[in-house]
């Protein structure tokens, strides 16, 4: 009994939790400031403390950011760009994930001469800095007639994403016993039947990892968006930048913060909904089921 009490109040314990709480707070402060600022009035922001709660709670910042704020010459808010981002992100995430699953299947279960080398080279794709490919990619998109289109952006993100998704799926499938594939082959299943009937149903955890990873990467991307899209096809990250940089008189921090929150929400939601699969998927294979 005394042991339990002593464990609960040991100074080292208190120190550990104290440090953790402090780290947590440091990490959360930017988000808290963003949230409370987005609900303040401009007057409140000018006169009040950065960390103080709003004196008048208002959603003016949010509605203005959504539909009225100026991003450059246009003043329609970020709503259009928000949907742009969806139109770009959803297909790019799905296509890159499916391609990755398929690549991973071939590279782990249907090895051919040089398949390990190919996989190794594909991994380099994870380390190529974005800036390196900007010019060649711009030229390629131009030749394909996809410059300044959402389709073009989707293509760029799929190409960039396949390296990562292939890595995820290949490593996940390597841990799945080959005997399963052999058994299916003897049962008469072909290449595609094995993929769709045997492997894909086993892939939920790694699908979640790939979906979250790709969604976060593509949604948050700024560089490709700013380079390969213009005007109406720009994603929200670019619009947010334009909104913050467009000054008409007084800086409306509440609108800026609300727009930033809008831009960040989808990735937050995806993580909250599928986060438990993310952890599970990342640790899959390390513990025997």
């Amino acid at each position: 009994m005394t042991d339990v009490v002593r464990t609960g109040f040991r100074p080292s314990r208190i120190a550990i939790y104290g440090v953790l709480l402090l780290a947590c707070l440091v990490y959360l402060i930017p988000l808290i400031i963003m949230l409370i600022t987005s609900f303040k009035t401009p007057l409140d922001i000018r006169t009040g403390n950065l960390l103080a709660l709003p004196t008048d709670w208002t959603v003016v910042g949010w509605t203005k950011a959504w539909s009225e704020a100026c991003t450059g010459v246009q003043c329609n808010g970020v709503s259009g760009y928000f949907w742009n981002s969806f139109k770009m992100t959803v297909p790019a995430v799905l296509i890159s994930t499916l391609l990755g699953a398929f690549n991973g299947y071939v590279l782990s279960k249907w090895k051919f001469k040089g398949s390990d080398l190919l996989f190794g080279m594909l991994l380099f794709g994870c380390f190529v800095p974005f800036q390196v490919v900007l010019l060649p990619m711009a030229a390629t998109l131009g030749k394909l007639g996809l410059a300044n289109t959402t389709t073009g952006l989707v293509l760029v993100h799929v190409i960039y994403g396949v390296a990562f998704t292939t890595l995820f799926f290949r490593n996940y499938y390597v841990a799945i016993p080959d005997a399963l594939i052999k058994a299916a082959r003897l049962d008469g299943a072909g290449f595609f039947t094995i993929f769709f009937r045997i492997l894909l149903p086993l892939s939920t955890p790694i699908f979640m990892v790939s979906l979250i990873w790709q969604f976060t990467q593509i949604w948050n991307d700024f560089l490709f968006g700013v380079v390969f899209a213009s005007g109406d096809s720009q994603p929200i990250t670019v619009a947010l930048n334009n909104l913050v940089n467009t000054s008409t008189g007084v800086k409306e921090y509440n609108v800026d913060m609300a727009a930033a929150m809008i831009a960040a929400l989808p990735t937050l939601v995806v993580y909250i909904v599928a986060g438990k699969y993310f952890i599970r998927g990342l640790t899959a294979g390390s513990v025997k089921g």
Partner: protein, 372 residues
């Protein structure tokens, strides 16, 4: 049910210097139970995968009922396999696992249902049909894996160490069941194992492999009693055969060899006349534990039986027997003694050597010296 011929099967893996299979020739009769046995790395799993079509062979041919299937895809060979890890499809129920191969082959729904039920009855897994494999015990998974193989009624069944993931008790039970099943269905089975007891108990014939070469092909009795070489002799039987290098002498009563105990006491043992050509030369005497036992009145008059006193170094009771270790010519030799007449280590025991079934090997070629 089908006849299977393996003709000069060769396999070299890409990039490997040595051949994994060095020309294997085995004929398997329709309805025969053949076990492939050997230490790990002997090529037995490669041979099995080659028969199934999961590996391509680099030479020779695999013939089923007169038809060369060497170049065929696994799905066209009409061969079913039971894997060591069972390889059940984890996302499918037991029913779906068994039905998978049937559905892919386009069997009508109603027939699939009947076939699944027939197999489930046969293997007594009917109550498990709607469960997922992860909910089953090892023994139940093993049954489902066999059910999946049985459902297609293929020409040939391959078993790849199917019992090695089970605990000892269940392994013996399933062994008996596989044997019963084979006696009932008389299907052609090729069964890979590294467990020589499994090989002995199940097989009609045993093929012993080593380093990609067939060492011996024969009935369990042939392989046990007349091993072709030192490797087969040492591999089959537990505790294994003891090997003592001896010289063949000629005496008044015939040919003999002399063994020396740890206390220097000597015993001359009679050996068969076919060793005439080896007089004065050294041979390896292969003697199994059961060839050395406590004195038995009924055997005493046999000229090939001799008695002597030796010091027991170690005793290992197994239940029905006691394995006693004595030292002969500087080598530990195991004897199988009756547990009802205990001997203690360090004591002397009167032992009877039955030389009728001992075998002799050429120390150079390691081959058994055959009676002319």
């Amino acid at each position: 049910m089908a006849q299977l011929e393996l003709r000069d099967i060769r396999k070299t893996y890409a990039g490997a210097l040595d051949e994994t299979l060095k020309g294997i020739n085995i004929d398997i009769a329709s309805g025969e139970f053949l076990t492939l046995v050997g230490p790990s790395g002997c090529g037995k799993s490669t041979l099995m995968n080659s028969i199934a079509g999961l590996e391509t062979i680099t030479g020779g041919s695999i013939v089923v009922d007169g038809e060369d299937i060497s170049g065929m895809e696994p799905k066209d060979r009409d061969i079913a396999m039971v894997f060591q890890s069972y390889a059940l499809y984890p996302t499918m129920s037991v029913r779906e696992n068994i039905a998978f191969g049937l559905k892919i082959r386009g069997m009508p729904k109603e027939e699939v249902r009947q076939e699944v039920e027939r197999v489930a009855d046969l293997l007594q897994i009917s109550p498990l049909l709607d469960k997922k494999p992860s909910r089953l015990s090892g023994g139940q998974q093993q049954r489902v894996a066999m059910g999946r193989a049985l459902a297609r009624r293929p020409k040939i069944y391959l078993f790849d160490e199917p019992l090695s993931n089970l605990d000892a008790k269940l392994r013996v039970e399933m062994r008996t069941e596989i044997k019963k099943l084979h006696q009932r269905l008389r299907t052609t089975i090729v069964y890979v194992t590294h467990d020589q007891i499994e090989a002995m108990t199940l097989a009609d014939r045993i093929a012993v492999l080593r380093d990609g070469e067939l060492q011996q092909l024969g009935t369990p009795k042939e392989v046990y009693d007349t091993p072709e070489n030192l490797f087969v002799a040492s591999f089959m039987g537990s505790p294994s055969m003891s090997f003592i290098e001896v010289a063949i002498d000629r005496s008044d009563t015939g040919l003999s060899v002399t063994l020396e105990g740890s206390d220097g006491r000597r015993l001359a043992l009679p050996v068969p006349a076919y060793l005439e050509n080896w007089v004065g030369k050294r041979v390896v005497l292969g003697i199994r534990p059961e060839h050395i036992s406590q004195p038995d009145e009924q055997k005493r008059d046999n000229p090939m039986v001799e008695e002597g006193r030796f010091t027991v170094e170690v005793t290992e009771p197994t239940g029905p027997d006691v394995i006693a270790v004595i030292r002969l010519n500087g080598i530990d030799v195991q004897c199988r003694l009756d547990a009802e007449h205990p001997v203690e280590w360090g004591e002397e025991a009167e032992l009877m050597f039955d030389m009728r079934k001992v075998v002799f090997f050429d120390p150079e070629s390691e081959k058994r010296i055959r009676p002319q």
